[in-house]
Symmetry: C2
Subunit: 98 residues, 2 copies
Amino acid sequence: MDDAEDLVFRALADPTRRALLDVLVERDGQTLFELCTRMAGAGVTSSRQAISQHLDLLAAAGLVRVRREGRYRLHDLDTTPLAPLRERWVRPDERTDP
Amino acid sequence: MDDAEDLVFRALADPTRRALLDVLVERDGQTLFELCTRMAGAGVTSSRQAISQHLDLLAAAGLVRVRREGRYRLHDLDTTPLAPLRERWVRPDERTDP
DNA sequence: TTGACATGCAAGCAGTCACTTGCCTAACGT
DNA sequence: ACGTTAGGCAAGTGACTGCTTGCATGTCAA
């Protein structure tokens, strides 16, 4: 099972990746080093490679867009894959979609 | 990391468990055997023990309430742990909470 | 009571995951 | 040109995960 939905859920399964999303939601265009610093500040102690790999996984899930600018790798958050997820597992009697 | 939030996200990381939630959202009080049958019907081929372990994990995450009735084990869905999850990673400029 | 049905428990196994380690490439400043 | 800065690649490792296997328990019907 390797469809898009599965990638998103598996990406969210790790606390470090969720913390990365927490940092990314505030501002687009943060570099890898910037993210490492802010993660360390948030109490998450992960190496640069570890964080880079987490970002690769988030990118594979479509949650993060990666672009190059000079020697920097900039990261933008994309929350659109989360939209269908938010409406899932709502009881039929609790649905409020008019 | 073993807090409640982490349990929920890890519980959602498995496609079989998500399929179980899909089946559970329709009706409360389904037995283990009933769930096995409906899972098989949905194209998910998992043994009874496997499904039972998945349900245990969902129960540990607070997503499923388990109760006994005679020789049956009945399962009720509880979506309240999903509520905070739905409002997460929403851009500050996209927030619409009045 | 006896047998069938619904489920529980626990050890073991193979695959996956997160992380490290070590070295390499590319872009900037001086 | 040279060193520094930002990041890339890939193999290896320990722990965790999902699943199986085998047997045990408890409940009901006849």
